[in-house]
């Protein structure tokens, strides 16, 4: 950054965010597709429901604990079940500690808001459901991946939900739209708008939706956008959510098929061990 006159003190000169932006590979055409995804449901054996998900290079693990009764003397009980969410970054997911604390707190709140409308909470009156997410690697889209992962984990754990929950991130930077922004783009989003006084639009949007019933359970945006742009981004994000449903459905159906196959195997020859090894 160019300093006029005397430069006081010394601080490491950072690469000009503008140059960083030019180095980014900007997508030529807008493809409303999710990143290459890997999902494994039932990744942890000793909890009710769990899922592990890789979204490009972002790796997230979610687990759902079995519903617990809320003690009578606390005044939090009601006719609707309580959802508790916590998001933690793995210590080795390199980020400086100050950013991590803030990110964890806001992601926990956002995750809770995304999940509340999806879970049939009236079936858990006086119960609380604890959902824990561990972010192992963050290459952008951490929140939306966490929501996707929780959606799969909830269904794996047999928690009644209204629909499959899917989520995605889109952002706008320097007039260029990025779907599923990587960590580099998300970093630039924080540093680039500050370097010149242009009133150019920038911002990031995360939506979580129940595509089957056409409802948006969570919409989280920050930055500086015209309402029209926000609507456009929202449309794009919802389109990706719709694509994401197929992937998660496929994984869950496969899981059920496997389960049935192993049960049938148990009935016919009494050992399901062999069947699982074969499949």
């Amino acid at each position: 950054m160019a300093q006029s006159g005397v430069v006081f003190g010394s601080y490491a000169p950072r690469v000009n965010p503008k140059e960083l932006f030019d180095r980014l590979t900007t997508p030529k055409t807008l493809e409303l597709e999710p990143r290459p995804t890997f999902i494994k449901v039932g990744a942890v054996s000793n909890v009710k429901g769990s899922a592990y998900m890789e979204y490009g290079n972002t790796k997230v693990m979610a687990q759902v604990e079995p519903p617990k009764e809320i003690s009578k003397n606390s005044n939090r009980s009601g006719t609707l079940g309580l959802i508790l969410c916590s998001v933690k970054y793995a210590p080795f997911a390199a980020l400086d500690s100050e950013v991590v604390a803030r990110k964890e707190s806001f992601m926990s709140v956002a995750l809770k808001k995304a999940l509340e409308p999806v879970i049939c909470r009236h079936e858990f009156a006086n119960f609380q459901l604890e959902i824990k997410v561990l972010i192992i690697d963050d290459d952008g889209c951490a929140l939306s991946t966490a929501i996707n992962c929780c959606g799969a984990a909830l269904i794996e754990g047999g928690i009644p939900t209204y629909d499959l929950l899917t989520s995605s991130t889109v952002c706008v930077l320097n007039g260029q739209e990025f779907v599923n922004p990587t960590a580099d783009v998300e970093d630039l989003l924080r540093s680039l708008p500050g370097c010149d006084n242009s009133s150019e639009e920038h911002g990031v949007l995360v939506t979580a939706s129940l595509s089957g019933v056409g409802q948006i359970s969570e919409c989280f945006q920050k930055g500086y956008l015209l309402p029209e742009t926000l609507e456009r981004l929202c449309d794009h994000s919802l389109a990706i959510n719709l694509r994401m449903v197929d992937t998660i459905k496929h994984v869950l159906v496969n899981k059920v098929k496997q389960h049935i196959a192993s049960q049938e195997g148990e009935e016919s020859n009494g050992s399901d061990e062999d069947m699982e090894n074969n499949s």
Binding site: Q3, F8, S10, V109, S191, Q215, L226, C234
Partner: protein, 296 residues
Amino acid sequence: MANVALSEAEKTFILHGVEEDFRCDGRSRRDYRPMELECEIVNNASGSARLRLANTDILVGVKCEIDTPTSLHPDQGKIEFFVDCSANATPEFEGRGGEELALELADTLTNAYESPSAFDLKSLCILPGQHCWKLYVDILILECGGNLFDAVSLASKAAIFNTRIPKVTAAVMDAGEAELLISDDPYNCTRIEIDNIPILVTVCKIGDCCVVDPSAEEEQCSTASLVVGVSKRNNKCYVSHTHTVGGGSLHKDTMYKCLNLGVTAGATLNDALEKALRLEESRVGNKRKETVGFLK
């Protein structure tokens, strides 16, 4: 938020009223309740404001302290929001009861102010890499009568408008470290530009309609609302933050309707607030005024 016990019949009454565009207190769906705003009522703070929106009572104090900028942004100051839900507001806030809500309010404000186009932290920088001002915006919720997000953001904007940062008169270089001399004349100060500072508008979905400025009773009837941060720049309205509140979900079309209602309401509200602030200042002028609020 604050829990008001409502029966089904009362809820239906409110719902029907909203559908007829005639709410319980006589407002239409796009109307705000009367507001009372007073600046500079806490002597110890650099800037302060108290806002009363019907039954919602908010007191905001801004303090500025000298801090060192972060290495990532050596040319920017800092701003920090802290919300305290007083147990006077509702018994629910006793102990740690209000913590979650307080955190959500503070997070929402931080997110809305985050973009440099919304709030320029560069103006808070004194010496790049060495000294900057850090604004502590302390928000106290004294009474809770619905629509906290809007009230808190309006009061914060008013308090920031009222903030006077003392001028730095000289910097003495001592072994490469700059030492600052702060002017002790209370009138020798700088102000903070508030033109772009966003305000939050909560749009509440009741039945099939959207309303602004929900009262505590109306909040009970709604399952989902949208909070929109509206900032004005070059006569255009920008959205600096949006998020959904409440345990329900919204349809896409409803959400866009809420968003547009929020933006138009935000623009009008923003103009009204700025007009009121300038009017108050021109009337009071520089002299120490008599506080009319409860803090006499």
